[in-house]
Amino acid sequence: MWQVCTGAGSQFIQLPWFLPWGHFSVAADPVSIFFLVPVFIIPTLGSLYGWEYWKHSDHPQSGRRIILSYGFLAGAMALVVLARDGVLFLIVWECMAVSAYFAATAEENNPDVRQAGWVYLIATHMGTLCLLAMFALWRHATGSFGLEAAQAIPGGLAGSIFVLALIGFGFKAGLMPVHVWLPGAHANAPSHVSAVMSGVMLKMGIYGIVRMTALLPIGEAWWGAALLVVGAVSAMVGIAFAMGQRDIKRLLAYSSIENIGIVAMGLGLALLGRSFGRPELIALGLGGALFHVWNHSLFKSLLFFNAGAVIHAAHTRDMDRLGGLAKQMPRVASLFFAGAVAISALPPLNGFAGEWLLYLGFFRGLDQSMGKAGAAVGLAAVVLASVGAMVLACFVKAFGSVFLGSPRSDTMRHINDPHRSMLIPMVLLTAGCLGLGLVPMAAAPMLEKAVQAWSGSEQLLNISFLAAFAPLPSISAVGLLFVVIVAAFIAVAIRLIQTNPPCKAPTWDCGYSRPTARIQYTGTSFVQSLVRLFRFVLLPKFINPALRGYFPERTQFRVVIIDVVLDRFAVPLFHASGRFFSSLRIMQQGHTHLYLMYIVSIVLILMMLGSL
C-alpha cells in the first residue's frame, strides 16, 4: 500500500471465485488509497467513542448488534473502494448498505427509528437498482464487468452510464433531490454510527462517481455542467434546510448534504476541465473536491461526536431546550467550536484550505478560452460564497444555542464533560482539522497522486502541480501569522486581566428586572429572518398565536419545517403507487400451488418465445 502512496503504480490481486459472473479482483490505486484513509480512521475513532457512548450494560439488546454491523460496515466500505469488478462491487456495496441499516436502527423500538430505517432501505435499493442497470450497460459497452478504463464507448451509451452513475451513487452520497433518506437516518442512528455514515459512507457515493468518471472516456461538457448544477442546488438547499432545524443531528445531516454538494461542484469543475482540456481546472476542481472529502470526514465526525456527547448527557436533541452547556461541558464546547469554525470554512482551519482550492478553480474558469461556460463556472464561486455565509449563520446558531447563554431548563445544570474515551477521538479529530488547516501541504502528495490517477492527463504527470496552481504554503504562512498574532493578543489580555482584575456582574437586562433564560434568543429565532428569506424552498409553517384581550390565554408559537422532497413528493408518490399496486394482490393468494403454476406458465411462455 505504501508503494502506491509513493507512486509505484497500483497493486492488483485476483482470486478464484465461484460465481458465474465476474471475478474477485481488488486493486489499490491512488484514488482508492485516498478514500481508504477516512475509511480506516473514522470508524476506528468511532468504535473507541462508542465503547462509552453505547455501553453494553446500558443497551444489552442492541450492543452486540451494533458492534457486529458497525464492523461489517467499515469492512464493506474498505472493499468498496478496492473492488475492481462490477459484480464484486455490487455485492460489497449491498453489504455496506445493509450493515448500515442494522447499525442505524439499533433502537428499533422507537417508531421514528423504524420509519427512518424504512426510508433508508427503500432509497438505498433504488440507488442499487440504478447501479445494476449501470453495470449492465457497462458490460454491454466494454464486454466485461471489470472496472478498467474503457477505450471507446459511443457517446450516447457513455452518457447513459454517466447519468445512471450520477443517480445511483447520488442516492448514497445524498445529493438533492435524492437525499430523502439522509436526515432521518443520520438523526436517529447512534451518534458514532451517524459519524461514520456521514463522515465516510456518503463519501462512497462520491467515490463511485469519481471512479466511474475516471473509467469512462472523456465526456461532453454537459456532464460537468450537470454535476456543477446538482452540486450547487444541493449545497444551497441543503444548508437552507440545515438552518431551519431544531434537532441538532438533523442540522448536521442537512449540512452533510451541503458539503456533498460542494464536493460535487468540485467534481463538476474537474469534468468540465477534462472536456475542455484544461489541466489546471482538473487539478483545482478534483483536488479541492477530494480535499473537501477528507475535511468533511474530519469535522463532520467531530461534530457528530460532540452532538452525541451532548445528547448522552442532556437526553435531548432539541437545541431550543439546551443552552449554556459551555459551563458544564467546557471541553466539548471548545471542541464543537473548533468543528464549527472548520465546517464554516474559516481560516486557519482545514475547511478553508479545501474550499480555497475550489474557489481558485472557479475563478480560473473565467478566462476567455471557455467562453460562456466559463462565466457559469465563475458564478459557482458566488454560489459558494453565499453558501459560506449561510453555513456561518447555521453553525453560529448551533454553537450558540447549545453551548452559549444560560441554560433554558434546570436539568441542564447537572451534566458534565463525557468520559475520556469519548473525548480522545474528538481531540484527535480536532488536531486533524488544525493540522490540515495550518499545514495543508501535508495532503498535497496524496492529493496529486489521486488527481493524476483520475485524469490520465499528460500535463499533470510527474509534477507537483498543486504548488504551481495553488500556493498552499502561503495559506499556511498566513495562518501561522494569524495564530501568532492571536497568541500575542491573548498574552497581552492575560496581563491586563491580571493587573486590573475584571468584576463580575449579570448581563445587562435591558430594563427587565426579572429576566428568565426563556427570553434568550433561541436557535429558531436566530435564523427566523433567514428562514423567511428561503420561504420558497423551505415552505415553513408558522403557527402564529393571536393574542386577544387584556388577559390572553396561554398559547404557543411554532415553526415547522418539513423536508419538501420527502414529505411533499416522495411519500405521496409511494402512497399513490402503493394504492395502485395493491390491486395486484389478487395474484397473491397465499396458496403455494398457485405460485408454482405461475412459475410453470412463465417458464413455458419464455421457452415458447425463445423457440420462435
Binding site: L346, A375, G378, V382, V396, G400, G405, K504, A505, S525
Partner: protein, 301 residues
C-alpha cells in the same frame, strides 16, 4: 521595504481618524462643532486603562472574540494594497482569504453576542448573519469582475490593474463600485443600514452585539471596527479613484487624502439619509448584489 513600513504604520494608526472625520462631517451638516477629530483615539486610550466588567453568563468566547476579530482584520489589512504600493503579503488567491477573514471575525462577534444570553444581543447577531448572506455574494461578484478584468487572482494585482482600463471595462467597474459602497456601509454598520451612534434602538446590529463589552475589550472592538472601515475603504478606493503617479512621496499623501475624502463621503451619506426600516435593509443589500451582478453580466456578455 519602505512601502511596507508605511503600509503597516498607516494601517495601525490611521483608522480611528476616519471615524473622527465622519463625525466631524455629520456635525458640520448638523450645524454643530462636534467631537474633536481625534476623539476615538482618546476613547480607546481611556478604555485601555479601565478594568472590565464581565457578565456571569459569559465564557472564554466573550473575551476571545474581540481579540480574534482584531487579528483577523489586521491580517486582512496586510493583504490589501494601499495606494500604489504592493500589499505586504500577497499570493495567488489571497482575495478569498481576505473575504473569509471577515467571516471569521463575524463568527466570533456573533458567538460572543449569543454568549451573553441577552435577547437584545441575540437579535443583533441574527441580523448580522442575515445581512452577510447578501453582502458576501455581492463581494464575490465584484471579485469576479476585477479578476476577469485584470486576469489575476492576487488582490495587489487585481486592484492596481483596474487603474488603467479601457472605457468598455469601466461600466462594470462603476456598477461594482456602487455595490461595494453599499456593502461597505452595511459591513461597517453605518447609516442607512445601522446607526452607530444609538445604543437603544430596535434597529441596531453592531452596537447591540457589543453592548456587554467594557474596558479594554470595548476599546479593541472600537479600534477593530474602524480598522475594518479602513481596510474595506482601501479596496473601494482602488476602484473609484484615478491613477497614481508612481512616486512614493506623492502617492502616500494622495492615498491618505483619498481615504479622508471617502470617510467624508460616508459622513455625507449619513447626514442626508435616514436610517432604513430594518425590514427594508435586505432590499438595499439586494440592490448592491444586483448592481455587482449586472457588472459581471456586462463584462461577460
Amino acid at each position: 521595504m519602505l512601502d511596507t513600513v508605511i503600509h503597516v504604520i498607516l494601517l495601525l494608526v490611521m483608522p480611528p481618524l476616519l471615524i473622527g472625520v465622519i463625525n466631524k462631517t455629520k456635525a458640520w451638516f448638523g450645524g454643530r462643532v462636534g467631537p474633536p477629530l481625534l476623539q476615538l483615539y482618546y476613547d480607546i486610550f481611556k478604555l485601555m486603562r479601565k478594568s472590565m466588567v464581565l457578565s456571569d453568563t459569559t465564557t472564554w468566547i466573550f473575551v476571545a472574540a474581540p481579540l480574534v476579530t482584531l487579528a483577523a482584520v489586521l491580517v486582512a489589512g496586510l493583504l490589501v494594497p494601499l495606494g500604489h504600493a504592493h500589499a505586504p503579503i500577497s499570493f495567488v488567491g489571497d482575495l478569498i482569504l481576505f473575504a473569509y477573514l471577515f467571516g471569521l471575525a463575524r463568527f466570533l462577534t456573533t458567538a460572543a453576542a449569543l454568549d451573553t444570553g441577552s435577547s437584545f444581543e441575540g437579535m443583533g447577531a441574527s441580523r448580522e448573519v442575515t445581512f452577510a448572506c447578501f453582502s458576501e455574494p455581492a463581494l464575490f461578484f465584484a471579485f469576479l469582475v476585477l479578476a476577469k478584468i485584470s486576469g489575476s487572482l492576487t488582490l495587489s494585482d487585481i486592484l492596481r490593474a483596474t487603474v488603467d482600463v479601457s472605457v468598455t471595462a469601466s461600466a462594470p467597474l462603476i456598477l461594482i463600485a456602487i455595490g461595494l459602497f453599499v456593502v461597505l456601509l452595511a459591513e461597517n454598520c453605518r447609516i442607512p443600514v445601522d446607526d452607530p451612534n444609538t445604543h437603544l434602538e430596535l434597529t441596531m446590529i453592531h452596537e447591540v452585539m457589543v453592548l456587554d463589552h467594557s474596558g479594554p475589550l470595548l476599546g479593541v472592538i472600537l479600534y477593530a471596527a474602524s480598522l475594518k472601515l479602513f481596510v474595506l475603504g482601501g479596496v473601494l478606493l482602488h476602484i473609484i479613484t484615478p491613477s497614481y503617479a508612481a512616486m512614493r512621496w506623492f502617492d502616500w499623501p494622495l492615498f491618505m487624502v483619498q481615504m479622508v475624502c471617502l470617510a467624508a463621503a460616508v459622513g455625507v451619506v449619513e447626514s442626508v439619509m435616514a436610517r432604513l426600516q430594518m425590514r427594508h435593509v435586505p432590499y438595499l443589500l439586494v440592490f448592491a448584489l444586483i448592481s455587482c451582478g449586472f457588472g459581471f453580466l456586462l463584462l461577460i456578455r
